[in-house]
């Protein structure tokens, strides 16, 4: 759906992005990962056409992106705010109108979303009276209201309690189910494992790792297996080079009654730390 081709961006002598290439499959949740200052926000701003790249191009559905395509994008930035003095409903309508919705359409959709999130009573309250979490809910609604086909969430769960974080997670999954493509930038690796289909890891301005989450985890696997036997004992087993896991299981079954047997894959957190510490890229 979105193809980033050889994008570079410099701020003075500082190179923020260096020949970045990645491809976001349609209808997937794509994790954009990387340590602080790696260049994620710069890349997101380029996708949103807030910044212009120094080199490279962006393709949306196979054709080069234009300013008009911004209407197809919903972006929830990490540093997000609202006008404190404006009323919630009025402000949401204004932001929706800026995205191209008519006033009537915006109001209709907003009332539906507000009912769904059980925040209808906030409509006439000034934003400054809402807690940070409440404001985040409003910002989320405003981001998805115009039903964009590409959604970009930068740390969407920060500031949410577990109940609301789950609510938001389910909404993101539902949006994908309805056909939206989601770019998801976070440092929370547990949510990456839970939500993302594919990822790209940016370190020091370059993509150092990309692909399907399951493939990446397997590629980082060290042929470790874990077996739980009938007396509750957990056994950690290492497969020798070129060994067959079936043979390993068969050998184990001779001496134990096996309750479960699974390959131990490294977590995304381990992979992230290992890759970044290895200092991949320039």
């Amino acid at each position: 759906m979105l193809d980033v081709e050889h994008i570079s961006k410099n701020f003075g002598s500082y190179r923020a992005l260096n020949d970045v290439c990645l491809s976001v499959p349609e209808g997937s949740i794509f994790g954009l990962l990387g340590p602080n200052g790696a260049g994620k926000t710069t890349l997101i701003r380029i996708i949103n056409r807030i910044l212009r790249p120094d080199g490279g191009r962006m393709l949306l559905d196979g054709r080069e992106m234009t300013d008009a395509d911004v209407r197809c994008i919903g972006y929830l930035p990490e540093e997000r705010g609202l006008y404190k003095k404006m009323k919630v409903g009025e402000q949401a309508v204004y932001l929706a109108q800026l995205k191209g919705l008519s006033r009537r359409e915006a109001e209709e959709r907003l009332h539906r979303w507000f009912a769904k999130f059980e925040i209808a009573s906030w409509w006439n309250r000034p934003v400054e009276e809402l807690s940070k979490g409440m404001q985040q809910k409003v910002q989320f609604i405003v981001t998805v209201l115009h039903e964009p086909k590409l959604l970009i969430f930068d740390e969407p769960f920060s500031g949410f309690d577990p109940v609301n974080a789950t609510l938001l997670k389910n909404e993101i999954l539902e949006l994908r189910q309805k056909g939206a493509t989601v770019i998801f930038s976070t440092h929370n690796m547990a949510s990456v494992e839970e939500l993302c289909d594919t990822i790209a890891l940016i370190n020091r301005s370059q993509v150092v790792l990309s692909g399907k989450v399951s493939d990446i985890r397997h590629s980082f696997g060290k042929d470790l297996y874990e077996a739980v036997v009938d007396d509750g004992q957990v056994l950690q087993l290492s497969l020798p080079d070129g060994g067959d896991p079936n043979q390993l299981l068969a050998d184990l079954m001779l001496s134990h009654r096996i309750v479960s047997f699974r390959e131990v894959l490294p977590s995304m957190n381990d992979i992230f730390v290992a890759t970044v510490q290895k200092g991949g890229a320039q």
Partner: protein
């Protein structure tokens, strides 16, 4: 709806809905109306009645000579609110002061050597200072009586005196071609008022633009907005929206001040009629003798039509459109620069620092105003009224005096042409800075 229009609408509606907007809108006309009404109310307020005891040991002011008691030109004349009573000695007057409730002061003029003219008199009071009105009445009558004595002593008749003091040469400043009088005082006053007004409104609404930009930056909504709106659209929407707030407020000020003044006059029509009449009468009465009365007559009657004539000589057909033009374009020019200053800063200290260079051209013009009024067509005036950053204030100062059309067109053309240039510059700074924080801090760090 066009996105810039949406931004304009939001800026306008949120500002016009603020309580502070209406407080300002209503307070200013009330303040102006009060400033207008207070002097008239004070003048018309029934004054407290006072009695002044006169102890005249010199005999010049009608205190010793029995014949003088019949002459009004050498004695203190009582009026409706101030009555003068002669006492023989200071001790007697002092005792009287304790017993008479309305007595507010004792006027004491010492004895003198024969033929000598007293050079001072003393006004004694007890605990409460005599009212200003009383003090000025005593002073006026002292001078008037002394003058009458001197005129008599030197055998100068009232008519002769009136001729000497009343004859004046009126220096007129006229246009050689049209033959119309310049009325420099009226024009100076008008120029000052217009120039200061432009200065105040440019800063008032320009700084609102800057505060709006800083607000969007500091509450971090800017990134959400610039995903939907181009930074240029956002900046111009803000600038135009606030300009419309400014024009609305100016219009409301004009209308409400008019309504307030008419209302005050209508509700106290009798008082205002009396005030106008009484003003004329007091002016005449203050002059004392018949001779000076004629002179006063000429002065008073001459001053009012002159003012009216002066105001009438002003070409409001040029001034009003010029004011509107220089307000709108002056504001637009500065507002875009203020927006850029706002984009560079993300806190109040930075704001003050970045807006300082913007205040310099206008402030310098304000400081040059006295010199410019001295020579409205001098080099300084011409240069300042043509440079776009100073022309809104400088030109408004000059316009009442009449500005050659070529200079006016140059000023207008340069201001109009510089607007897109400054806007492009400001938009460039704005676009590059609105998503960057701590610019000043980083710069300082680099410098170290």
């Amino acid at each position: 709806m066009n996105k810039t229009l949406l931004v304009i609408r939001r800026e306008y509606v949120t500002r016009v809905r603020k309580v502070s907007f209406w407080v300002m809108t209503i307070l200013v006309p009330i303040l102006l109306a009060v400033l207008y009404a207070i002097p008239i109310y004070l003048a018309m307020r029934p004054a407290e009645k006072s009695t002044v005891l006169v102890v005249d040991e010199s005999g010049l002011f009608g205190g010793l000579d029995r014949d003088d008691a019949l002459r009004s030109d050498v004695r203190f004349a009582s009026s409706e609110n101030i009555s003068y009573r002669y006492c023989a000695t200071l001790d007697y007057a002092r005792r009287q002061m304790d017993t008479t409730s309305m007595t507010c002061a004792i006027l004491y003029v010492r004895s003198r050597a024969s033929g000598a003219i007293p050079t001072d008199a003393c006004l004694y009071y007890k605990s409460d200072l005599p009212p200003m009105q009383v003090r000025s009445d005593i002073d006026r009558q002292l001078q008037s009586i002394l003058r009458n004595r001197l005129l008599q002593a030197h055998g100068i008749s009232d008519d002769e005196y009136a001729l000497i003091t009343g004859t004046k040469i009126n220096l007129r400043t006229e246009d050689l071609e049209t033959g119309r009088e310049a009325f420099l005082e009226v024009k100076t006053a008008l120029g000052f008022v217009l120039a200061l007004l432009i200065y105040v409104v440019i800063f008032m609404f320009g700084s609102q633009v800057m505060r709006g930009v800083v607000e969007e930056k500091s509450n971090r909504i800017i990134e959400v907005i610039v995903c939907s709106v181009k930074p240029f659209q956002l900046m111009m929407g803000k600038v135009v929206g606030i300009a419309m707030v400014g024009l609305t407020q100016l219009l409301l000020w004009v209308v409400l001040t008019g309504v307030a003044l008419v209302g005050i006059q209508a509700s106290n029509s009798e008082l205002f009629r009396m005030a106008t009449e009484k003003h004329g009468v007091t002016e005449l009465a203050t002059k004392g003798s018949e001779a000076t009365l004629q002179m006063a007559d000429a002065e008073t009657l001459g001053a009012v039509p002159q003012l009216v004539e002066g105001i009438a000589s002003i070409d409001f057909g040029v001034i009003l459109p010029a004011f509107l033009f220089f307000f709108v374009f002056g504001y637009l020019l500065y507002a875009t620069l203020f927006a850029a200053a706002g984009a560079l800063s993300d806190n109040d200290t930075d704001t003050q620092l970045f807006s300082l260079p913007l205040t310099v051209p206008l402030l310098a013009t304000i400081l040059c105003m006295p010199a410019m009024v001295g020579a409205p067509s001098g080099t300084l005036s011409v240069v300042l009224s043509i440079i776009p950053l100073t022309s809104p204030v400088a030109m408004m100062l000059r316009i009442p005096f009449g500005v050659p059309l070529t200079q006016l067109w140059w000023s207008v053309a340069l201001l109009v042409l510089s607007f897109p240039l400054f806007t492009l510059l400001a938009a460039r700074i704005y676009r590059g800075s609105i998503l960057r924080y701590g610019l000043l801090a980083n710069w300082r760090k680099k410098k170290k």
